[in-house]
């Protein structure tokens, strides 16, 4: 986004109405959690997983297996800080000679922030630095897996029936009793009286159909619920031993009430996002694979294609007096770009804020291409563009200084001018299919942007 404001703290705005392929968009970095407002036309996608503390990249298959958690790093269950592994030496008997003892290293986890240690919850010290600690298992896992298998079976039956219904064709020659017409159907489809109505619209076993069925014991309901222990009403609470709601919800499977049951969890991974255009599915931004690198593999950002407009100097602006403002236009691409500044027309819907009249140079301006080596190349011949000194104040490499005439129309307040900037855009991305006819590799597209500049207050 171009900025044009005295003082340099972002006041110009650049809205663009050109249509081009692909759409350049301005994109915040993939780590920035800007949320979904970022661009409705660009779809974010998960690119790569990494652990925020050990900065290790994790392939997505492994991430799926590990439930998006790092294998090495742990989070403190009390304060969510990253746990560090500490080592102590404990005396341990030698395997050969039980009488003698030698110092062995024992490792435990500790939080540097809230002083929690793995010994607080009764986790034994491990003899290996990493890989020794396991998260506890959910005791209901087996039962839930059995339930899933059972319902899978019912679902399979429903699918078979549904597919069969689609394929069954009406047979006119069959006796009425065998046809579906009156809903009686075949023996298999008819429901026996007294049998349960099809539950969950079909998810129930019909008797005698399948020999190899997985049976499940429906859960047993109990008459009595355990009451609170007698001393619950009278015993004082130590709040440090009671977990907070936040701490409990970090462990959905267990949600322990006592702090002594709060086991640490592996650290949750973060992702890098890539952006894709909604319409043409073109990749707009793709970050590097390496978690420590903040560069991009693909970065199609507007800043790289649209000439930058900056304010260089503003004279004293007085009501109804025409003064000259010096702007600079900088060309971000490597080939010559032609820029035309146009005045906004009457009734332009984008032109809502301008409080001054502006006269822009009538002719087309030429901007030289950006040459990275230009500042080092002293022998380079300056390109001769035959600039009109009334319009062009100076020219340096890919930058040009341009005069615009501004007449404030309001006595007080900020002076804001708007105009249109039209420039050419060449899509230099390699086409999928190299065109064999002619040498027109990429077509030139003209884009027009609405530019608004805030020039500061009117002086009395």
């Amino acid at each position: 986004v171009c900025e044009g404001r005295r003082g340099g703290s972002g006041g110009g705005s650049l809205g663009w109405e050109g249509r081009s392929e692909p759409n350049p968009t301005d994109i915040p970095g993939p780590g920035a959690s800007r949320g979904a407002w970022a661009r409705p036309c660009a779809v974010p996608q998960v690119d790569s997983h990494y652990c925020p503390s050990c900065l290790e990249n994790m392939p997505s298959a492994e991430a799926k297996l590990k439930k998006n958690r790092c294998a090495n790093c742990f989070d403190c269950p009390c304060c969510m800080h990253t746990l560090s592994t500490r080592a102590t030496s404990i005396p341990a008997p030698l395997p050969d000679d039980p009488a003698k003892t030698t110092m062995k290293k024992a490792y435990y986890l500790a939080c540097g922030f809230c002083r929690w240690t793995s010994r607080d919850v009764g986790m034994a010290d491990k003899s290996v630095a990493s890989g020794g600690w396991q998260e506890p298992e959910n005791p209901h896992t087996q039962r839930i897996n059995k339930l899933v298998e059972y319902y899978q079976q019912l679902a399979q039956k429903e699918k078979i029936e549904r597919d069969r219904k689609k394929l069954v064709r009406r047979r006119n020659y069959m006796p009425l009793a065998f046809s579906d017409k009156y809903g009686l159907g075949t023996r298999l489809q008819r429901q026996r009286p007294g049998a349960p109505i099809s539950a969950l619209a079909g998810l129930s076993l019909k008797e005698g159909e399948d020999q190899k069925e997985i049976k499940i014991e429906p859960a047993d309901a109990v008459e009595e619920v355990e009451p609170l222990p007698e001393d619950y009403y009278t015993r004082p609470i130590n709040l440090t031993e009671v977990t907070t709601l936040h701490q409990r919800l970090l462990q959905p499977d267990f949600q322990p009430i006592c702090a002594s049951q709060l086991y640490p969890r592996h650290k949750h991974l973060l992702i890098k996002r890539s952006l894709r255009c909604r319409k043409c599915e073109h990749n707009l931004s793709k970050p590097e694979f390496n978690p420590t690198s903040i560069k991009f593999k693909i970065q199609l950002v507007a800043v790289n294609y649209i000439p930058e407009v900056r304010i260089m100097s503003i004279p004293n602006l007085r009501y109804m007096k025409e003064s000259q403002v010096l702007l600079t236009l900088t060309n971000p691409v490597e080939n010559i770009t032609h820029v035309t500044l146009l005045e906004c027309e009457e009734g332009d819907p984008d032109n809502i804020n301008s409080t001054a009249k502006v006269a822009v140079p009538p002719k087309e301006l030429i901007l030289a291409g950006k040459d990275a080596a230009a500042e080092y190349d002293e022998l380079a011949e300056p390109q001769d563009f035959q600039d009109d000194p009334d319009i062009i104040a100076f020219r340096k490499a890919n930058k040009v200084g341009v005069f615009i005439k501004v007449t404030p129309q309001k006595e007080e307040g900020e002076v804001t001018v708007s105009f249109k900037m039209k420039h050419e855009f060449k899509n230099l991305a390699a086409p999928i299919r190299p065109s064999e006819e002619g040498d027109q590799i990429s077509e030139v597209i003209w884009l027009t942007h609405h530019v608004e500049l805030s020039l500061g207050p009117v002086l009395p």
Partner: protein, 417 residues
């Protein structure tokens, strides 16, 4: 993890299961034993100091759309870490969810995130899947309200629903009121200052934490005595000895003294019968009376209680005692023949049971597709089926989308020509 997960059975990726509650959202993958995350249903905007609740029913569509968009974006890219486009979605919802909210949520999912299909699953029905039973009386004690819905042979008996605004929200309101009225604060400068002089109101997350850590539900006898003392009809009732006070640190400097009586009396609002003689316990009995006679015994012996508020210590025991106590009262004694009540223990914490049911259903890849609303259906019709709209053709008809809905239905229920 089951062996078939992700690899076999056609290679379809596991579905995403989201339970959007008004206070908390439970989110995870189908086929797993618990949600990946339980987070407050809020988003944080940079210029607004307080987080904004996502589940609001009275705001305009534009705002709701942007809140839901941002929240679901965070769910996918911060917690689930998967692409929305690849996986089907199961949304656990309450049957009382307003259609406007549902429609906006569907639009966000299909138009913005382009998910392949969405299934709206009622929470009460899903909780039965975690037990392997077909009939139960399900009570969901959540944040905004407690909602009861009986299910018989897998079909919700919609006409017998019942709800009361007695949930976490009501408890928080009562607790804040009691705290401001009765409690004192020790600040760094002075001791024993009244709470209103230090802070005008107590932030809800602090109230919630106080509730979770210090409050509990007394048993029936004790609870009735507390209520009698509160309403003090005779003037002679004395409340039972209160539990000990708790010193609750508000921050590094201030300590709030939570007086003992608050800890056991605030929760009584769930069981106090107000002028209409309704409480969380009567919800079950009133619903049972409305149910068909043949179903009552089975429903009464299969009670299921889900929801975060049901996790208060002592809640379930008190609920059963209240039901047995109330069933002897004249109002119910004649009407209900069945006197035995049994309650289930699902294989998950009460706040995750509905989610788990959705996760079990979401793992049924054979039928999940046919039961869900697909992106194509939505783009062609622009709406999702709702149980309260009779002019929607059933999903089975949508296999051949070109077919017109059966003329019989149209004539009977709609005024369209």
């Amino acid at each position: 993890m089951p062996l078939y997960e992700g690899l076999g059975s056609g290679g379809e990726k596991t579905a995403v299961v989201i339970d959007l509650g008004e206070a908390f959202t439970k989110c995870g993958f189908a086929g797993e034993t618990g949600p990946r995350c339980i987070i407050p249903s809020e988003i944080k905007k940079p210029d607004v100091p307080k987080p904004i609740k996502v589940v609001q029913y009275n705001i305009n569509t534009e705002e709701l759309y942007s809140y839901l968009k941002e929240f679901i974006h965070m769910l996918y890219f911060r917690h689930l870490l998967v692409n929305p486009r690849d996986r089907r979605v199961v949304i656990i919802e309450s049957v009382l969810c307003p259609s406007h909210f549902r429609d906006t949520l569907t639009r966000v999912l299909f138009k913005h995130f382009e998910v392949p299909s969405v299934l709206f699953a009622p929470s009460h029905l899903m909780s039965l899947l975690t037990l392997g039973i077909n009939s139960a009386m399900v009570l969901d004690c959540g944040y905004k309200e407690s909602l009861v819905l009986p299910i018989y042979e897998g079909i919700p008996i919609l006409s017998c629903w019942g709800s009361l605004p007695l949930g976490g929200k009501a408890i928080h309101k009562e607790l804040e009121y009691q705290l401001l009225e009765q409690c004192t604060v020790d600040t760094g400068l002075a001791k024993g200052q009244s709470l209103p002089s230090v802070m005008g109101s107590v932030p809800e997350d602090i109230v919630e934490d106080i509730k979770v850590r210090t409050c509990f539900v007394s048993d029936l006898q004790r609870g009735l005595k507390i209520q009698a003392a509160k309403f003090n009809i005779d003037g002679s009732a004395e409340r039972p000895p209160p539990p000990p006070d708790v010193d609750y640190p508000l921050d590094g400097e201030k300590i709030l003294h939570v007086v003992g009586p608050i800890r056991d009396s605030v929760v009584e609002i769930l069981f106090e019968q107000d002028n209409e003689e309704t409480s969380v316990a009567t919800l079950i009995l009133d619903s049972l009376i409305q149910c068909p006679i043949d179903t009552r015994k089975q429903l009464a012996e299969n009670l299921v209680v889900i929801g975060g508020t049901a996790m208060l210590p002592g809640f379930l025991h008190r609920l059963m005692a209240e039901i047995r106590y109330l069933v002897e009262k004249p109002k119910y004694k004649e009407a209900l023949a069945t006197k035995t009540f049994r309650i289930h223990t699902p294989p998950a914490k009460p706040n995750c049971v509905a989610w788990l049911g959705g996760a079990i259903f979401g793992a049924l890849q054979d039928i999940l597709g046919s039961r869900s609303v697909s992106k194509e259906y939505y783009s062609q019709t622009g709406r999702i089926p709702d149980w309260c709209c009779l002019n929607n053709p059933p999903l089975e008809m949508m296999f051949d989308v070109g077919k017109a809905p059966p003329p019989l239905m149209k004539r009977a229920f709609s005024t369209e020509k």
